[in-house]
């Protein structure tokens, strides 16, 4: 990293962009877990669907993978969301009436299947090599303006999602969702169609995860098997939400920012490790994040910004 003002600014832009992309994913998980109590252990799967869909639709033609459709990036994103939702729907349909554990198992399974399909069916997305020609909106503006404009786009999306999620939280929809989360038998006994509500939260959350995947593919201009490993998405997003405060949309965003800051900080640390340790750096970072999680939860059992019942509607 070059320690010039310009270099620092570019680093800051990168940091903020990643925080915002993880913010999207955390808001999505909060919708599923914080609102509805749904344990999605396969965030990476819906992320991957969104990312690959965006890449395939927008990347230039190549003999190595499906593509050349030349979609404008901003049109590819809604398709990415829809595809993630279409995959989530049957999973939810089958699992959401059952005990919570089944959803966890099914989502892990689905995520792994999606990852392996893209890894092995190389005609689809160039296998392990992945697609590394994903266009990023505004890149024609060059550095730093292109990066800045892309950050502004991601931030605008985060803000829109945040306000939508807040409205959902205070609305009777959010209230019914929390009732189901707290006691599904009693919620059914007051007329709430438990499966319908859960399905809505699950599919909507999965769609937003797909959006996060699409934004990530654009930002890195790349999507491949390494980017869809559970560690980078499922695990990290869970840690972010738990640390920030599940059941709190601000907490979700704060968690994304804090944990990403620390996660990228650990990279500075692991980069200084002796060469024979570098290969082990990913384990070491995970370990550090695990320790952080424990430390934070000692002090903030319900996350830094715990759930609060919404203000009255008026």
């Amino acid at each position: 990293m070059d320690i010039t003002l310009y270099g620092l600014m570019m680093y800051g832009l990168a940091l903020l962009t990643m925080m915002a992309i993880y913010g999207v994913l955390c808001l999505a998980l909060n919708l599923q877990w914080g609102f509805a109590g749904l344990f999605n252990a396969g965030i990476a799967g819906f992320f991957a669907v969104g990312a690959y869909a965006t890449a395939i639709l927008t990347a230039p033609e190549s003999p190595n993978h499906l593509g050349g459709y030349g979609w404008p990036p901003l049109l590819a994103l809604p398709v990415a969301m829809a595809l993630a939702g279409i995959i989530a729907w049957p999973v939810g349909r089958i699992c959401l009436g059952l005990k919570g554990d089944y959803l966890a198992m099914a989502t892990i399974g689905i995520a792994e299947i999606i990852r392996l399909v893209f890894k092995n069916e190389s005609w689809l997305a160039n296998g392990t090599m992945g697609i590394s020609t994903v266009p990023r909106p505004f890149e024609s503006l060059g550095q730093p303006w292109g990066n800045l404009a892309f950050l502004a786009l991601v931030l605008a999306i985060v803000i829109a999602l945040y306000f939508s999620a807040e409205r959902a939280w205070v609305s009777p929809w959010g209230r019914a969702m929390r009732a189901i989360r707290d006691n599904e038998t009693a919620a059914a006994a007051i007329g709430k169609d438990v499966v319908r509500f859960r399905l809505e939260a699950f599919v909507l959350g999965a769609m937003v995860m797909g959006l996060g995947g699409g934004l990530s593919a654009m930002y890195f201009k790349f999507i491949g098997a390494t980017a869809t490993e559970p560690l980078l998405t499922t695990f990290l997003v869970w840690v972010m939400l738990i640390i920030g405060g599940s059941g709190n949309n601000k907490g979700a965003l704060l968690g994304a920012a804090l944990v990403w800051l620390i996660w990228s900080g650990t990279e500075l640390f692991t980069n200084r490790l002796p060469a024979e340790w570098i290969t082990r750096s990913s384990y070491i970072r995970t370990l550090l994040i695990g320790v952080l999680l424990i430390v934070v939860l000692q002090r903030f059992a319900k996350g830094v910004l715990p759930e609060r019942p919404p203000k009255r509607i008026d």
């Binding site: 939508s164 409205r167 959902a168 609305s171 009777p172 929809w173 959010g174 209230r175 019914a176 929390r178 009732a179 989360r181 707290d182 006691n183 038998t185 009693a186 919620a187 059914a188 006994a189 007051i190 007329g191 709430k192 169609d193 438990v194 809505e200 909507l204 059941g247 759930e307 019942p309 009255r312 509607i313 008026d314």
Partner: protein
């Protein structure tokens, strides 16, 4: 109002409800008593759609509702409380009530996003009703407390309050008196009588408190070992040899055994 025909429910080897048939007349306050483990709560759970029976049928107001899910039965006019309080723990007491009315416009996410004025109007009416109910049950001072933090008796009151947020045809009350203080319980009994008289709600009441049953219920149905033993007025029940036998001897558990004779 409710007609139960030959309902059976097995849990593993136990027949919790065993070929049980009974009838709750429209406009009545019908009592359901019986020793611990007689199958009373299980029968309620079947009537309310919390789980399906292994056999038999249930009719609500002349409609066969066997196997209907609980949320559909609620919408059809059946409200119920749970013996063990099923509060929404991480919601305030007020929210526990506000959540009740079915089919709120704001329960549709698109309406919540685009039609907020309508949601607010509807909410104002629901809130007004909730505040009245909280007042009647002396819960105003805990309205903004998380329901999970309430005492056992207060949680039972929240259970009752939720049924009062809806205009049901029939209300199933499972030991609503357990853990609630005498004075308040007497007021609740008055409230049940009023709702029955003025609004025509039918009540089906499980209770171990024989005074309360004697005051409120006619007729009283006695269950033992999953079946209906007898039914009649409380005075008739008290004289019935088989009932005394069921409570005092032979029953699977009889901690409440002394209740029937002594009361």
């Amino acid at each position: 109002m409710i007609r139960v025909d030959n309902i059976t429910k097995r849990f593993g080897g136990i027949r919790a409800v065993d070929d049980c048939s009974l009838h709750v007349t429209k406009g009545s306050i019908t009592g359901l008593i019986g020793p611990n483990g007689a199958g009373k709560s299980t029968l309620f759970n079947i009537i309310a759609g919390t789980f399906p029976p292994d056999g038999g049928s249930v009719q609500l107001d002349g409609v066969d509702v066997t196997g209907w899910p609980a949320h559909r039965l609620f919408r059809a006019g059946l409200a119920r409380t749970f013996q063990i309080a099923h509060e929404f723990a991480r919601m305030t007491v007020l929210e526990n009530l506000l959540a009740v009315p079915a089919g709120q416009a704001g329960e549709n996410l698109l309406t919540a996003w685009t039609g907020w004025a309508r949601v607010r109007r509807e909410e104002a009416a629901i809130r007004q009703r909730a505040e009245a109910v909280l007042g009647e049950l002396r819960l105003e001072h805990v309205a903004h407390e998380l329901a999970g933090n309430l005492s056992g008796g207060q949680k039972k009151l929240v259970e009752l309050a939720r049924t009062m947020m809806w205009q049901p045809k029939v209300v199933l009350l499972d030991e609503i008196g357990a853990g609630v203080n005498r004075t308040l319980l007497s007021e609740i009994a008055g409230e049940i009588e009023r709702l029955n008289r003025d609004h025509g709600y039918t009540f089906f009441v499980i209770e171990h408190d024989m005074d309360l049953i004697a005051r409120l219920c006619h007729p009283v149905i006695v269950m033992a070992e999953g079946r209906v033993l007898t039914q009649g007025s409380m005075a008739e029940i008290r004289r019935n040899e088989a009932v005394i036998e069921a409570y005092l001897g032979g029953g699977r558990t009889n901690q409440n055994g002394a209740g029937i004779g002594a009361a």
